[in-house]
């Protein structure tokens, strides 16, 4: 039973220890995405204090993203492919619940899409950082 009084059914035949390790893996993956995100903000803005606040703003905006795209059903579903949504709905991971009703490989998809996008962006950020003045 989850927080929302919903029965959770695992999407994969996993033992408990496998599930535990998988969730730890998901958390590490989220950490990695957040590190990349921080790196991007950090390369664009030089002030480390502003980076801290900006990270909070980006996090909050990603929380708000599903609400802002409510008018469009397609966008509403795609707005869930963010590390923030994955982090806040961690008890749904590897379960047939929430977004995983429509995408069975939601976690892997999020990591690959998020990882690829953020890597490209951090490459860009690195270039900006290299070209910036003292």
């Amino acid at each position: 039973m989850s927080e929302f009084n919903q029965f959770l059914i695992s999407a994969y035949p996993m033992s408990f220890i496998q599930y535990l390790l998988a969730v730890i893996g998901v958390i590490l993956g989220i950490q990695f995405l957040f590190v990349l995100l921080t790196f991007i903000i950090g390369t664009i803005f030089k002030n480390s204090y502003l980076v801290f606040v900006l990270f909070a703003i980006v996090f909050g905006s990603l929380v708000l993203l599903p609400e802002l795209s409510l008018s469009s059903g397609q966008l509403f579903i795609y707005s869930a492919f963010t590390p923030v949504y994955l982090l806040l709905n961690l008890d749904f991971s590897f379960m047939i619940a929430g977004i995983a009703n429509s995408f069975q490989y939601y976690e892997i998809l999020t990591f690959s899409i998020g990882g690829a996008g953020l890597t490209v962006l951090s490459r860009l950020g690195y270039r900006i950082f290299k070209a910036s003045d003292l």
């Binding site: 002030n47 480390s48 204090y49 502003l50 801290f52 606040v53 900006l54 909070a56 703003i57 909050g60 905006s61 929380v63 708000l64 609400e67």
Partner: protein
Amino acid sequence: MKVVLYELRKIFDWKIIATTMVFCFVFYFIFIRFEFRHYPNGPNQVFQQQVALQMIEAYGVEINAQELEELKEVQQREIQRFNEYIGSRIDFQEAGIKTYEQYRTTESELGQQLSHRLAHEEQLDLSWELQERAHLIERYETREWWLLEGTERQQERQLEIWNREEQAILPGFVLENYQQIITYTAMMIILSIVIVLAPVYIKERKNHLFLLQYSTKLGRNLFYKKILASVLTALMIITLELAVIFFLYAGNQTSAFFAVEINSIFIWGHLPFYWLNITFGQYILLTIGFVYVLGVMIALLVMFFSRLAPNYLTVIGIQIPLIGVLFGWLFNYLVQTPFHIDFPIFITPLLYGTCISICVALIFFQGKKEQRVDI
């Protein structure tokens, strides 16, 4: 005075201000907007508010036993109207429902289907209104039956309120909605004060201004001027954000309840009373005052840490546990439900007294040290 103005100009760096504004915007959308958008939340609250407003218009802000009899007559008349309406409908006649009582207690499948359709799909106002008025009447009449909870003094206070002849008419969700709004607003104000004021000293340290300042007499006296500038900034931030939030709160249209006392038996829930006999309007003013005190306190504390911390990360790192303790453990004593019957009456003033004296003491301690501190 001129120096204070210069300090203010330094604090109002456009980058920090713009970031803070965006931060407040996001914070508002996540936490506060709900309380404005979904108020009153659902037909129960809509009609409870409507009935309460009718009662206030007819009997004033308090209701006594005699006025309750009048209210019951009103209820009877409305039930008559409902019965007439039900009588005019063939589907209800076929299901054997002729009166309000039958409509409410029907157990047949057809009857339940019909009554569900009437209330939820056709959304007949009268059925909701009757239900909410019946709740309020029942709450007034059966208040002596409710079990006393808590310690001896809490029980005394509950008995005192229950035994009153005149009972205040304040639906619980009006108060709760305001408490949610003021809590999140206070959090938003505190976070924006922290964001704006934390870098004040760090910036100077990074630019090696300390070497210049602390080798002159004027520079050694800058501390209190900076404190004054930061308190002024805090006051500006508080006033601005409260003004915006209360401008939006005006849309909830609760002004009819401002003269009603907050100790109302029409608030459901665990120990819903307060130690103070104040009206809802006075409660709002009280919490606004608390938010001002809290904001200035936080400004002093942030300036102290900003003076001591060697870099940005330290000042953030010190403040996270402090703000966490404030929001997590102290907030319902300080802002959310001050003087609630759930905790002793002296807790709120005691906490404010302690926090204020700690902050002022830290500032004076640092102010004294300023004169002879090494660079």
